[in-house]
């Protein structure tokens, strides 16, 4: 009965997105609630994440690079099924090759020899895969702790935990090619990746906080631009200046 209920909720959510593939990503689902959650997330960032990130930034550069490589190597696993689902087999080769080389020669991913060999996998998740199927972003909202998202990306986030081989081994505690783990491993790696990202962008966050009139909107714009770039696998700017005649 519970499974049936979940399927119905999932179908309603999916229908909401599929029924509105052309909804502009800037449209909000429930802005007031999102702004309240955003305030909570910012407070949490000030109290917990920012101090940890500042401490992390004091670590020697090779330690930070090793940590970044390690978490990034694990996150490559999610790109493999997503590249298959997108039919991008060249990228499947890059992802598999990069993970295999870095896990072995790169000592569990601490080093990144794959990059020197020309293996540069694009990071792909289920939200990006759904986008390549023509599904629009749907409306924008903010999740507690996890931050900005869209209707499509939030479903993608949930689906990621089902198709990510690392989540399969850790979160679902299933064995895969003899590898096993626990949910603690999953959350530890995700938390480390978050700290690394926050630390790397510490100055950018400070500058944005200092110079924004409406920080919520600035971060929303940055999130949506970043997702667009990841979906088209390019950072080429779309010309929006054409109609400015001067």
């Amino acid at each position: 009965m519970k499974i049936l209920k979940n399927i119905i909720i999932f179908k309603i959510l999916l229908f909401t997105i599929l029924a509105s593939p052309n909804v502009k990503s800037a449209e909000e689902c429930f802005e007031k609630t999102s702004r309240a959650i955003f305030k909570f997330n910012m407070a949490l960032d000030n109290i917990v994440l920012e101090p940890i990130a500042k401490g992390y930034n004091k670590l020697p550069s090779p330690v930070r690079t090793g940590t970044k490589n390690f978490t990034s190597n694990i996150s490559t696993l999610l790109s493999i099924p997503n590249n298959v689902l997108q039919g991008n087999f060249k990228q499947v080769g890059h992802s598999v090759g990069s993970f295999a080389v870095n896990t072995t020669v790169g000592i569990l991913g601490i080093f990144n020899p794959a990059e020197k060999m020309g293996l540069k996998p694009h990071k792909e998740d289920t939200g990006q895969t759904l986008a390549t199927y023509g599904i629009g972003p749907g409306c924008y909202f903010v999740l507690p702790i996890l931050g900005p998202t869209t209707a499509r990306d939030s479903i993608g986030l949930l689906a990621d935990t089902f198709i990510d081989p690392f989540a399969h081994v850790t979160l679902r505690e299933k064995e895969l090619f003899g590898a096993s783990g626990s949910s603690l491993d999953y959350y530890t790696i995700k938390a480390t990746g978050t700290v690394d990202f926050r630390a790397e962008n510490d100055q950018n966050f400070e500058s944005l906080e200092k110079n924004s009139i409406d920080l919520y909107s600035s971060l929303k714009s940055i999130y949506l631009q970043d997702r667009e770039n990841k979906i088209k696998n390019s950072t080429d700017d779309v010309d929006e200046w054409g109609n400015l005649d001067n």
């Binding site: 800037a26 550069s61 690079t65 790397e200 100055q203 500058s207 200092k210 110079n211 924004s212 009139i213 409406d214 919520y216 909107s217 600035s218 929303k220 714009s221 940055i222 631009q225 970043d226 770039n229 390019s234 950072t235 080429d236 700017d237 010309d239 929006e240 200046w241 400015l244 001067n246």
Partner: protein, 198 residues
């Protein structure tokens, strides 16, 4: 006395150097401008105020602040009163310069390289560059949207850092403020004034 003379000498060099015109070729223009900025901002003989003055002068001469202000206003630029737009442009310039100086005076030493250029139309060229921080951080890709309508005087209209357009981010921030305030440009102007005066 010695302090005053050092200050005057550095001020002389500052104005002499920033008075120089950069190349009209978009790629060379960015290359010359950034290299001069790097040399000034990493100069330990200049204090923060001198660096701020330098940034302001370079920005006023080489960034198309008026066009940028109109772009960030979105569709409202077509329906607003002329006087409101002029007031908006005035305060936007102050806002832009304040925000720019606060970002750049904290500059840490980096290596800058031009990667290439892409002529989009007779009006626009995108100059691609990368910044390699000397502290070992990851390299940053920066694209410069150069307005070339007057081929003799290229102007910067946007910076796209790792695919994130600063102009678009600004435009969407303003759009959000406007949409929660009945699209009233006067409220946006007052919010910008608040920022400038704080």
């Amino acid at each position: 006395m010695k302090k005053i003379s050092v200050y005057l000498v550095s001020l002389f060099f500052l104005f002499q150097s920033s008075a120089q015109a950069y190349s009209s070729d978009p790629k060379e223009f960015v290359h010359e401008l950034v290299n001069e900025a790097i040399s000034k901002l990493s100069d330990k003989n200049l204090d923060t105020e001198q660096k701020k003055e330098f940034i302001k002068e370079v920005a006023l001469k080489n960034v198309d602040i008026n066009a940028l202000s109109l772009y960030t206003l979105g569709e409202l630029r077509k329906s607003s009163e002329k006087e409101d737009i002029l007031n908006f442009q005035k305060v936007f310039e102050k806002y832009f310069l304040k925000s720019l100086t606060s970002r750049l005076t904290d500059y840490s030493s980096s290596k800058f390289e031009i990667v290439g250029e892409d002529k989009k139309s007779s009006n626009y060229t995108i100059v691609s560059s990368k910044v390699i921080p000397k502290n070992g951080g990851p390299e940053i890709k920066i694209d410069w949207r150069i307005f070339t309508k007057n081929p003799e005087k290229p102007l910067i209209r946007d910076l796209i850092v790792e695919g994130l357009s600063l102009a678009r981010t600004q435009k969407e921030e303003f759009a959000s403020i406007l949409s929660s305030n009945n699209n009233d440009i006067k409220i946006l102007i007052s919010k910008l004034e608040e920022f400038v005066n704080r």
